[in-house]
Amino acid sequence: MTWLRRLLLLVAVLAVLVLGWMLFGSGGRPTPPAASKVAAATLRDPALIAKGNYLAIVGDCAGCHTAQGGARLAGGRSLPTPFGNIPVPNITPDRETGLGDWSFEDFWQALHSGKGRHGELLYPAFSYTSYTKVNRDDALAIFAWLQSLAPVRQPDMLPALAFPYSVRKSLAAWRALYFKEGEFKPDPAQSVEWNRGAYLVQGLGHCNECHAARDTLGGTPQDVHLTGGQIPMQNWYAPDLSTRRNGGLEGWSAQDIVDLLKTGQSGRGAAFGPMAAVVSGSTQHMTEADLQAVATYLQSLPPRAPVAEPSSPFDTKALTEQGGKVYAQHCAACHGKSGKGVAGVYPPLDGNSSVTEPTGINATRMVLLGGFTPVTAANQRPYSMPPFAQQLNDGEVAAVVTYIRRGWGNHASIVRAEDVSRYRHTPID
């Protein structure tokens, strides 16, 4: 960041601070459970709790709110962001360290408005930019389920953010740019199924939080919807989700989408990296009707602008030839000479959007890391791919990735040895 940008940001933050002080200076007060408009008996309704359990799985709450090896939903970890580490809170009903003293009103304020119990602005690592679309009934069900869990005592970690992000009130500026509060409004011109899909994708599913590019302030401009982007810190590329012309899922049928979300695999490709965890922990448990609704909605996303055929100043011929040799030696036995894969076992590489996504990161990382396809009820003993990090050097990985990105019907950009070296580390979080 240059000194000029830093200065401008500082001025903006100071202005926001003054404004923020005027607008939100007094903060807010929590609503004690006893003063809640929601009766305690309502929260104990088994049907409501069961509904909340399902919705919490759809939203994959446990995906973020559980530490590696830690108690489910008890937080105790930090989410790394380009701005610093943000603690993930304990959302079990422990009175001191969790949500035990929270009322539904407090919960709604967090989920819908992105504000803590005392009115403090929450860091948008908690995806309230999406959750604001969740309706009150569903939010109540999730809250009832959370309150029904066994309390776990685990204090939250402390935030570790760089200035000016460490000043919570600076979030007022961020929110003005990127956050529009409001429940999902059904589109009467569309079918019930489409509306259900849109509600799930845009709201609880919070798909756009990964499947859209973030700008330098970590926000997604409000008109950018599911067009794909690199996930900060994790460094995987979450592809564009349009199934129409030039879309990241071009040519995917509704069934392909349902298959991937349900089993972790489809005729067009397999889930891996962070999406593997999403499928295992969340989407495989969704009802057939909800998965169909998601597919219907995704299929309605508009076609995308054509991407110019990448031109390269390098002689790609030598690279591709070398890649062809590596492919024949290490890859063809499973993915086939023509890159068609083996149905239900090894994903195709020809026409696979994860291979041809704009950056080449996904294919690079897959070659380096290998790993198992997602474990789902439909696939409890998945096949796996060898990690090649120990066998192939940067040049060989670049060559084979370039080969599969430009082979058969694929026309993606080349990958260079320097790119491979940048993504050699193994992401755990």
Partner: protein, 252 residues
């Protein structure tokens, strides 16, 4: 190993042969799949290519360098526990944590049993130059421990033949020097741990740096006993309380 069906140059002949085979067995011919689709065996060995690439098809590891540990013949419960420890972040090695992160217990158990059942000869690994006194100190630690520093003998848990004890104590003979010293070191840096009470962490912390060299060198230079299988369960009484053993044993 796998073969690539597509590598056959006489494709039409191959299709005809497969068609004939299909007719012979009365199975429906699926021409679209015969041309280039690799034939993938439905075996555990094929499924766990992510494991065998480094650890070897039979879990032999890389005895020459000690870099990828041997899995063959280690007790199944021990191997399954290691995968679980990687999942929980008790053992830290990013490629392993990444690979096993989502595997369900039943599958991990199956994988563990596969490697536990493998019988491959032990390879000898190079030893660093160590003095006779160092080797003698190592032998002392193996057989007697160091009571003054409350270091129990290796044999008191890992069996009199040091081939491990069922169900979850690994053998120590036949392992490379580098592997053993690296493991003892990783207990001290908390990149290797297991369920509490973590008795091996206590032992590793009572060892001095020179003890680690001594015990690793002595173990790696030992001749293998004729029977390298782990001793039966209950054949030792561990002197420490160990989480992996259901926290049995006493405190010295």
């Amino acid at each position: 190993m796998m073969t690539n069906a597509g590598s056959c140059p006489a494709k039409s002949f191959r299709v005809a042969a497969l068609l004939a085979a299909a007719l012979w067995f009365g199975a429906p011919a699926r021409a679209a799949e015969t041309a280039d689709t690799p034939r993938i065996p439905d075996t555990l060995q094929q499924r766990i290519a992510a494991c065998t690439t480094c650890h070897g098809v039979h879990g032999e590891g890389t005895p020459g360098s000690g870099y990828f540990p041997r899995l063959a013949g280690k007790p199944a419960a021990y191997l399954a526990r290691q995968m679980q420890d990687f999942q929980n972040g008790l053992r830290k090695y990013a490629p392993m944590e990444y690979t096993v992160r989502q595997l369900p217990p039943a599958y991990m158990r199956e994988i563990a049993e596969y490697f536990a059942a493998q019988q491959v000869p032990y390879g000898r690994s190079p030893l660093p130059p160590v003095s006779a006194a160092t080797l003698q100190r190592g032998e002392e630690l193996i057989g007697k421990g160091d009571p003054a520093r409350r270091i129990p003998a290796c044999a008191s848990c890992h069996g009199s033949q040091l081939t491990g004890v069922e169900p979850s104590t690994p053998g120590l003979v036949g392992l490379p020097y580098d592997y053993i010293s690296a493991q003892l070191g990783s207990w001290r840096t908390h990149t290797r741990a297991t369920v509490a009470p973590d008795c091996m962490a206590e032992v590793a912390n009572r060892l001095g740096e020179s003890d680690i060299t001594a015990v690793a060198a002595a173990l790696a230079s030992r001749e293998l006993p004729p029977d390298t299988h782990a001793q039966p369960a209950g054949s030792v009484t561990p002197p420490l309380r160990c989480g992996v053993l259901g926290a049995t044993g006493g405190t010295p």
